[in-house]
């Protein structure tokens, strides 16, 4: 079997590490990673727990295909109750850390309690121990990785850590692994920080040994790789342009939320697009993009490696930002750029580096800056409060706010709370572009109607990665639907949510679904894992996971009222582009969605639905 069948339980209060067998009955019902770890979490914590208290738990988890030759088989997730939202949090990351954890012989690590002093977990195959991290506390993820690798005299150690944002309680702090991959959203890094857990360092030499049918698996994996290679998006678009391929496309269709969603098109979009990343800068004759890069096992390689001009004002005195490192993905280019009206490509790249370096979610951070800039333009916030003049379009303000937020100084302490808390404090709660307290990403629900329902109903707060209907509404994958209408979107969102939950539980990357469906995933799972895995069964597992997460959120105190969009998207029509004059049809889609889900009018799963799913 592709599961390692072993989990590590780390009690940070007591300082103990213990091995337990994986619950294989649950593995058959929830597959792995997102599904299985969530099952553990909801079985072990009180849904009403304070996310930043020692009673919350944090799980790092792999899927059955993590660490295998399946394309993109390098994913892991961090599952906990999120401090930004008070809802279930599950953030997925690539890089190499997840595969190393699996190759060390573990399916997941459950962290509980709180360490009396800063520690990191050192995991070398079976050997697990907590080590002092006092010398790492107060430092960045980059410094932490470098120091731990040097201490163990092993460059092949893989590390996931928090930066100063996670230590300082930035509510959207992330867990960063391999320098620039991140379990990015919902503040999982703040939970890690609240436990005084600085890092997890893993070296695995056991490997993945238990594939059910190795030959069959290699054949299924090879067939699926061919599907990715032959597809225009995964075979050509993503490797060449990355997710940034979308910047000009989404701007054209009038769905690029601009200046805190005041507009749906950004006049500077071209300057921060994938095409711009390829072009030579006039200043030094080099392009922003150095090359593309893959995560473990990935045959798509959408990752960006970028390098800014050393003489750019933002880095001229900071040599640590001069080298090549993780570059802009679409969501980050949007959140740091269009959301604030900033079109300086190198400045955005540097802001993104700061987010990686200190472990902050660029989506929530950038969108919060957008709200700050709007409040500044309105005169609600003054230069004296913020510390810098902050009109829309100011790259200087963006970079300064990134530093102050990561370092926990001055007004950065307010930005650290996210836009929902910040705008409420200053008397304008409607200016937070968030759902359940989490900022929505780079698709405007007025121009892509399905994304409105996606944001409103996402179990972890506004997010594009829970049902990426952009694929259908804009790119026509797997079928083209009209982005400007609400008809049929309830069923579409449900289908995407269920399939996504299955992919997120497998160890593979959601970006495969530009080319793959569950029909491409199922043969790989089936060859790797015992139990007979069909696409129908995977869809059912996905639906089960979605309803389990929903039940947790309801028990945590969230209600149907929380499945809603910011007022602006429902009352202020799009000003330009194909969606001009439209607002989001969320109020029409929501009841249809509840019905499609088998939930009552209050968004509560009916008894029939729960029993059908074995919940």
């Amino acid at each position: 079997m592709a599961w390692a069948k072993k989990i590590l339980r780390v009690n940070l209060t007591k300082g103990t590490c213990a091995s337990e067998p994986l619950n294989m009955e649950w593995a058959q019902q929830y597959l792995g990673q997102r599904g299985l770890a969530t099952k553990y979490l909801v079985s072990e914590i009180d849904p009403k727990v304070d996310p930043l208290s020692p009673d919350n738990k944090l799980i790092m988890t792999t899927g059955p295909l993590t660490g295998t030759m399946a394309s993109t088989g390098g994913r892991y997730s961090v599952v906990t109750k999120g401090p930004l939202t008070g809802a279930i949090a599950c953030s997925n990351s690539g890089g190499y850390f997840g595969a190393e954890l699996k190759q060390a012989g573990w399916d997941m690590i459950i962290f509980e309690g709180k360490s009396p002093k800063p520690v990191y977990l050192w995991l070398e195959n079976d050997k697990a121990e907590l080590r002092d991290a006092s010398h790492l506390w107060g430092t960045t993820t980059w410094h932490t990785e470098e120091t731990i690798k040097a201490a163990h005299q092993d460059p092949q150690v893989r590390i996931a850590s928090i930066g100063r944002a996670g230590e300082n309680g930035v509510l959207y702090a992330c867990v960063v692994n391999d320098l620039h991959r991140a379990a990015g959203r919902s503040g999982v890094g703040a939970v890690m920080g609240s436990k005084n857990l600085k890092a997890v360092a893993v070296r695995g030499t056991v490997g993945v040994t238990g594939i059910k049918d190795f030959k069959g698996f290699l054949k299924a994996a090879a067939a699926a790789k061919k599907v990715l290679a032959d597809n225009a998006v995964t075979g050509q678009g993503l490797p060449k342009f990355g997710t940034q391929v979308l910047m000009n496309v989404i701007n054209e269709v009038g769905a690029l939320p601009t200046r805190n969603a005041n507009d749906v098109q950004f006049e500077g979009a071209r300057n921060i697009s994938a095409e711009a990343m390829h072009e030579k800068r006039p200043s030094d004759g080099k392009s922003n993009l150095v090359t593309n890069a893959a995560c473990f096992g990935c045959t798509i390689a959408c990752g960006r490696v970028s390098q800014v001009d050393k003489n750019h004002w933002s880095v001229v005195n900071s040599p640590k930002y001069w080298g090549a490192t993780g570059g802009l993905e679409y969501e980050n280019a949007w959140s740091l750029g269009a959301a604030n009206g900033v079109d300086d490509l190198d400045a955005l790249t540097v802001a993104n580096m700061i987010c990686n370096e200190d472990g902050m979610d660029p989506i929530s951070f950038g969108a919060t800056v957008g709200a700050v800039m709007e409040l500044y333009q309105m005169g609600v916030l003054k230069k004296e409060q913020i510390g810098i003049e902050s009109p829309f379009g100011s790259a200087q303000a963006l970079i300064e706010m990134a530093h102050m937020t990561a370092e926990g100084r001055g007004f950065g302490k307010e930005i650290a709370l996210g836009s929902a808390r910040l705008t409420k404090k200053h008397g304008h709660p409607d200016l937070s572009m968030s759902v359940k307290g989490q900022e929505f990403p780079a698709y405007d629900p007025r121009g892509i109607q399905g994304m409105g329902l996606t944001y409103a109903t996402s179990n972890r707060g506004a997010c594009h990665l829970r049902s990426y209907t952009v694929a259908s509404e804009i790119l026509g994958v797997p079928v083209k639907t009209d982005p400007l209408v609400t008809d049929g979107k309830a069923d579409l969102v449900k289908a995407f949510q269920d399939a996504t939950a299955a992919f997120d539980s497998s160890g593979t990357c959601i970006f495969t679904t530009f080319a793959w469906t569950l029909a491409d995933l199922a043969p790989q799972i089936d060859a790797a894992c015992e139990g007979g895995w069909t696409l129908e069964r995977l869809a059912e597992v996905g639906e089960r996971i979605w309803n389990m997460e929903r039940q947790f959120n309801l028990a945590a105190g969230l209600t149907a009222k929380d499945d809603d969009l910011p007022k602006r998207l429902k009352t202020e029509p799009a000003k330009s582009g194909p969606a001009k004059g439209l607002v989001s049809g969320i109020d029409k889609m929501k009841p249809e969605y509840y019905k499609s889900r088998g939930w009552d009018a209050n968004g509560v799963p009916t008894k029939d639905t729960l029993s059908r799913l074995g919940l």
Binding site: M69, A99, Q103, A293, G297
Partner: protein, 157 residues
């Protein structure tokens, strides 16, 4: 006709499919720590470089071995470690100028690339063509073709 592994680092994305394929071929598991080909990540330069044994014609490792455990596979030209003969003395690891012969503590023997008997698993697994298995005498053919194409300066109607 002899063939060689040919590496084009500019095409490498760092996915490590080659390392997994190598470990599966030799150990029946996905275990990159056992791979005989390694991908090095030069982070600040944005470069990823796969590296393995180039099968030297006059192989230092072979000549250094005191028990003749490293022999030439006549079919492929690969210098192959015969585990039943290897005593794990590691002299070959000192002799090799490139570091591509390494000791394996689990087995008490050394290991190096043996070209998988003529069908290298790494090259088959590489999704980008960064690792190919080509005619030894013409490893430069691809590059020559690229440059040859650039010589077309003739304006056409």
């Amino acid at each position: 006709m002899q063939k060689s592994l040919h590496i084009d680092p500019n095409k490498c994305t760092g996915c490590l499919q080659c390392e997994m394929a190598c470990s599966y071929e030799n150990y029946g598991a996905f275990n990159i720590s056992k791979s005989r080909i390694k991908v090095f990540n030069f982070e600040a330069a944005g470069r990823k470089v796969p590296y393995t044994c180039t099968q030297c014609a006059e192989a230092w490792c072979l000549h250094a071995c005191p028990v003749d455990a490293i022999r030439v596979d006549a079919a492929t030209g690969a210098k192959v470690v015969h585990e039943s003969t290897c005593v794990g003395c590691k002299v070959c690891t000192i002799a090799c100028p490139f570091g591509t012969v390494n000791y394996v503590a689990d087995t008490g023997k050394v290991q190096k690339c043996d070209l998988c008997g003529g069908q290298p698993a790494c090259a088959e697994a590489c999704p980008t063509g960064a690792i190919t298995f080509v005619e030894s005498d013409w490893t430069g053919l691809g590059k020559m073709r690229q440059w040859a194409e650039k010589t077309d300066t003739q304006p056409r109607a």
